[in-house]
Symmetry: C2
Subunit: 416 residues, 2 copies
Amino acid sequence: MESSNGERPPQGEDAAAAAAAAAGSIGGYESLHRLLESNLSPELFKEASRLLLGLNCGRALEAISLPESTSILAKAHNFDVQAFRFDADKEYLRQPRVVRVGLIQNSIAIPTTSHFADQKKAIMEKVKPMIDAAGDAGVNILCLQEAWTMPFAFCTREKRWCEFAESVDGESTQFLQQLAKKYNMVIVSPILERDVNHGEIVWNTAVVIGNHGNIIGIHRKNHIPRVGDFNESTYYMEGNTGHPVFETAYGKIGVNICYGRHHPLNWLAFGLNGAEIVFNPSATVGELSEPMWPIEARNAAIANSYFVGSINRVGTEVFPNPFTSGDGKPQHADFGHFYGSSHFSAPDASCTPSLSRYRDGLMISDMDLNLCRQIKDKWGFRMTARYDTYASLLSEYLKPDFKPQVIVDPLINKSV
Amino acid sequence: MESSNGERPPQGEDAAAAAAAAAGSIGGYESLHRLLESNLSPELFKEASRLLLGLNCGRALEAISLPESTSILAKAHNFDVQAFRFDADKEYLRQPRVVRVGLIQNSIAIPTTSHFADQKKAIMEKVKPMIDAAGDAGVNILCLQEAWTMPFAFCTREKRWCEFAESVDGESTQFLQQLAKKYNMVIVSPILERDVNHGEIVWNTAVVIGNHGNIIGIHRKNHIPRVGDFNESTYYMEGNTGHPVFETAYGKIGVNICYGRHHPLNWLAFGLNGAEIVFNPSATVGELSEPMWPIEARNAAIANSYFVGSINRVGTEVFPNPFTSGDGKPQHADFGHFYGSSHFSAPDASCTPSLSRYRDGLMISDMDLNLCRQIKDKWGFRMTARYDTYASLLSEYLKPDFKPQVIVDPLINKSV
């Protein structure tokens, strides 16, 4: 099966291992970082990394060591694990607030032609050892990928996939509540939600589960794409939960679901509400968005002085019935290659390398949340933002008779 | 003279040539792009470029050839010239609107201890052949760097440097008006402005000169930094000209001066007013901002569906009187290394390589402005932006008693 962008992605776990082995060769390299690491001298790689990972001011991004059980799980279940530490300056009046945060990316587990119940069960069984690995590694806050309980079937426009929608307190939440309690871990669970109290409509929702296994609250995706095969506007509407920040035992977190990452105002709103970490659980494919992927999350972290955890699913999902894509090309049955590449971005403009473009993975980072306020004080973006100007402009812009501020050259039509 | 970030930048044109020759070695490489080009196999370099320059969907970024006179000027005056073309799809109902746009980056010309009149004259003489090269190359719209007529002396906090401020129709404008007319070229000229009709106060201003040599209008820098040695708030206040878009003979342009690039709302406002190209004339140093530099402009181009031209001056400027930097370190007399790296970003997430980190340079790009609307239609960011939500939020946020939307875990203090 060839994906729509001409890549020939490996299928299944054996192929993923083969792809990992082939890292460094075109089409099979695990990540840009690993491609450069394998092919540049250590000195040049260090300099390229300084620019690419934003490591400046003498700060190094250090790898952190994890317990053996995490490595054993990763090996047994063939997923990538990477772990790094973002540092902050020591303060006189506050203790460091170091939090260990995890991101999980995964492909689906069995073909999309299988019984829906089996598909969901298989994904849960596949993700469980990754959550166990995070728990063993002492992760405090963990986020899963967008609509993690299902294939990303919105390319099909078939409504049968709505069967995967669950109540906020449904099967997947109950599954994760046990694990949250077991590992004393906050878990963010992005699912397709069935809103039973409002006409059984469907939302794209993140359920935030506290470290005692309680449901703290939900956030519904604010911005819905109409691009490529992302026919999500066929399935659910723009969220009605605002931009909540969840004050958990380990820090203040927000969730900017998928396409919301293209909207700087969406990122801003979580910042204005006080987020210290914003997760961006996503499902996005190579041909469409890969060049944007390393840019938008880092920009959000810089502009809003918070950490960002970006997650994208991996693999190619093939559906039972072929569909066209509004691009004049023949019908096909896959959504293209979900390129993984989950990573963290920090408010000081640094970031971690990315997880594999092909394999399941767990990315862990220790982050001292004190860095957020340190960067606010250093750069002063909030202080210099002139929000009054923009509140006025947006209010004006909303009026049907809005006139843009344009200064026309009076000689525009004069010949030379 | 060692700059504050430990790099030993070349001084003057001979040293710049030496640095160019040393491209590929650490500290002397011209740009990340050239570092990778020199050290990766062609196949791997192509793949790294695809990701780094955002070249997807099979689109290549093609170099364009320039007239011999441009190359002769570049060689004679030792500046870097690079030229690329961004493509757009053919449309049925509109002709392509290809505009040739240029960016100039340069170091100062003679020591900052020289007579002020001599310094300004020397910079103008230095920049003139670069403008001639742009004119010979058929550039339609050209932008110079921030405060291009002077050293970036705001690190000193000495008010004597205000003498470099000029009226909007002052010496530098008159100089450029002749060249604009000669080459039928729009020129954006960022200067320190003396506002003679308002108490002789000083602004950081871009003067937009039409292709007939007329002054179309001005824009004053909206956001003023208070970070590192950027003591600009000592010299001038936040601009009072809004976010004007200038409708020129060649397209609708805006100017986001320097620190404004850290403010997504500032970029947004130029977009809402209809800009197709936004210039970001800057002066920024390595230790502070280099990791942010490739991120923010590209994000702005993506988020707002317009082209961005980013310019940063080059070299290390040493001042007559040493000063401290509020970082506990001893006094020193330089502002650190201005790392050049001027480049263009496109709305489809692609970008050009960057000009040299050390040498003067002229970056040229052909861009079909039709791409802006094509990307708006494809991605729908304007349509899905929900500006009403954010107008309300910002209005609320401005109130002193604003309460952030925070959902507190009720079990936050419960022990495990």
